[in-house]
Amino acid sequence: MKSETGFDHDLYKRFPTKGPRPESEFDELQRIWCKPKGLEYLTVVNNNYVGLYYVGGAFLFFLLAGVLALIMRTQLALPLNGFLDQETYNQIFTMHGTVMMFLFAVPAVEALGILLLPQMLAARDMPFPRLSAYAFWAYFLGGLAFFCSIFVGLAPNGGWFMYPPLTSMTYSPGINADFWLLGIGFIEISAIAGAIEIIVGVLRTRAPGMSLDKLPIFAWSMLVFAVMIVIAFPSIILATLLLELERALNWPFFDGLRGGDPLLWQHLFWFFGHPDVYIIFLPAAGMMSMIIPAITRTPLVGHNFVVLAILATGFISFGVWVHHMFTTGLPPLSTAFFSAAGMAVSVPAGLQVFAWIATLAAGKIRWSVPAYFAIGSIVIFVMGGLTGVMLALVPFDWVAHDTYFVVAHLHYVLIGGMVFPLIAAFYFWAPMMSKRRLSERLGRWAFWLMFIGMHVTFLVMHWTGLMGMPRRVYTYPDSDWTLPNQISTVGAFLIGLGVLLIVIDLVRNFRFSATDTVGNIYDAGTLEWLPTGLYSSRSIPVVKSRYPLWDDPNLSRDVEEGRYFLPNSATGERETIVTSPWNAEPQYLQRMPGPSWFHLGAAVFTAGFFLLLTVQLYWLSAASGLLAIGCILRWAWANDLPIVHTAVDIGAGIKVATYAHGPRSHGWWAMSVLLVVAGMIFLMLMFSYVFLWSRQPELWPDARPLAILFTSLALSAASLASALIAPRLYARAPWAAALLALLSAALLTSAWFVDALDWRAGGLDPELHAHGALVAAFLSWQGFFVVVAALMGLYAIARWKAGLLARERPATIESISLFQAYAAGQALVALTITRAFVLGV
């Protein structure tokens, strides 16, 4: 194989090593990756614990949202029922959708990624363990507080998609809508943090030799899932920001009377919302592609096609957002593309289904609970997919839009495409981390109750919809709708009973352990089934095939005896091997952080910031925000510390460095992905600007003086130059690089002030017209970057003063430079866009 990094592949022949390993190295490994005690369970960062917390948290929200569904079905069981009043029903259906989508579905699959990926890739942990823990705590604490709003009648009530003008201040004057808009803010942050972790983890911390052709399908799907989050979530972040700004400050982005347009919300929301279905589906499909080969003891048929399908789904799903807007009066020319894309996206999804069916046919199914749920999932998902193609047909969509037909379709897709695979995954992977296996008897009962209940509830709902019953109504007259509604309610309780059995099974039988587990009872072939501890596998194997445990019967023993990479702790700290993205060649050893209170504090105060803002306790919210920033800075301070060992032996005499910087380093990759997120938000803001301009271009104001534009552009360009020069100067004079970082921030701040003061002098009023609101939004967004860039500049100076900027460790200054260069580039584009349109270009 051609080397990607210059690594000699013949070195792999040294493994498995011969001869006894010292007993002390295993003891040291256990000491370093020790089990938490007492309060350490809160500060723990190990993926086994954080992943389990995450899965548990997501499952809790699934149960809570499920209870809300049962309450809704109880209300709809009888015509003109008085079990719930209209307002409570509105809050409950909004919370059901919101909690299922934002607090269960996306976090659940992200959680399984964090739980399974390190073991599956034979990494010691995810590359940023504190980031995973931060993501979990921000999500869990914020999510619980958000959910509690329903107990005091303050839950959002505008549907999970929160369309304005219904959710504008005029029609939703309370703080219910704000709970949604600000409440999911921390969930978005959490999802993006997890996505960064997963992208870097999959591409950079695989076991040596695990080139992309040998990457397990679950890892492929998690990689595409994470990239899709990075592309799609910025749109909803921007949408929520704009609507909250409209509600709080009366900036009219969605007010048609003042140059705004409610359709902008729909574009932004569905650019996130439709890919979100695939964001949820792809990891679940990845789980299916792992479970089905194991239960049939047959390699996945059409592995390469499945990879292609995952990639194609990731792309095409972004061309389907208008699928939800066919009734809004868009021109037929546009709707034709989206209709075609809506149908086309079923092709890669179908490709995966055919691969599963072929694998089931090629092997011999060993019936077990995961097998039942996996096969049940195929049946349900295919039915949901077919009605999806029906809804992609514009004329049919006009008929079925906003009826129960759509409710039936989306539940078939989400339950078949995500819930059943997830439960299959619970039963399949539980033996990997539990002392006892889950009950086959209870699991099969749960399956049949859920499978039958699913069809009883939702199959009939197609007809309810075609009979004309609209969604989101709290009651209905005694009519033809009564019987199908009663049947659906019976089915919903059957599903509830099935889920209850799973809960009972988990309580009775799931006993977490990292070492003393049931093990590989399904005889699967991938690395997560190696004997593990909190350090993941004892040593990190060289991967030679897609199913290494099937192809090398001695692998588990050799790994357990420490005969592969990193049988010890080479540096005396937590560490993992960073490998190259294509061939997975060892590049360097990453030193990893241990437990800490700072990421926990940052999470608590981040959630506090958003929630206190929602209940309008502004000063407390600001204090919470400042504390969150303080915790994050303190957390960052512990990174990039002096190196004791510059190069270490990672096994069989192979030496690698313990430090890397620039595009080779995992930190650089993480910052780059973060900047893609920022860039996407900015791109969506530019789309919003052009979109609203296109509504009423004649009402946009006159030009501002060009001299000011050129001054701001010059200052921004100087800031960009300083940011780019700083890392180049670092090797000679770290102090000068730190000063340049501060200078870059100062120039950027000046550019912002010049621009903002000029708009102010021109009488810009964000409340008067959407143009003013958009310019103010650009200024606010850029202002946020100015503040962060300034903080980074000061941080660089503080590190220099503390003696932490050493010539051989440029990673910190490189990250700061990357961020500041992006911020300056963004300023240049924002200045040009906001003023070019005013000039009438």
């Binding site: 080139s211 990879v307 792309f315 095409i316 868009l330 037929p332 894309a341 086309a344 294509w582």
Partner: protein, 97 residues
């Protein structure tokens, strides 16, 4: 970066084509000219360019018989074929409108 671009060439060309035809359709709608000839001609030209780009990408996909290279080539070629079909699939109805 070049490796990734070639690996994802099919879906990437699809994305560029999709954005282009969406922009053309939006401009036509803005000018109230969705039923005129020029939007359809513009979409036709962009589509022809996309199809040529697919063929060009396909011609660049060479490599040895190593397992990783074969995998990359197979997935990349599959992406090109899928993208080719998707572009035709979503453009033809619009041109026929």
């Amino acid at each position: 970066m070049r490796k990734w671009l070639l690996f994802l060439a099919g879906p990437l060309i699809w994305v560029i084509h999709f954005i282009a035809i969406y922009v053309i359709a939006s401009i036509a709608a803005l000018a109230h000219q969705t039923h005129d000839l020029w939007p359809r001609m513009a979409i036709g030209i962009v589509t022809a360019a996309a199809l040529i780009a697919f063929i060009a990408a396909l011609s660049l996909m060479r490599g040895d018989h190593e397992r990783l290279e074969v995998f990359k080539r197979n997935v990349a070629m599959g992406g090109v074929v899928l993208g080719f079909v998707a572009v035709i699939w979503q453009t033809l109805p619009a041109l026929a409108l």
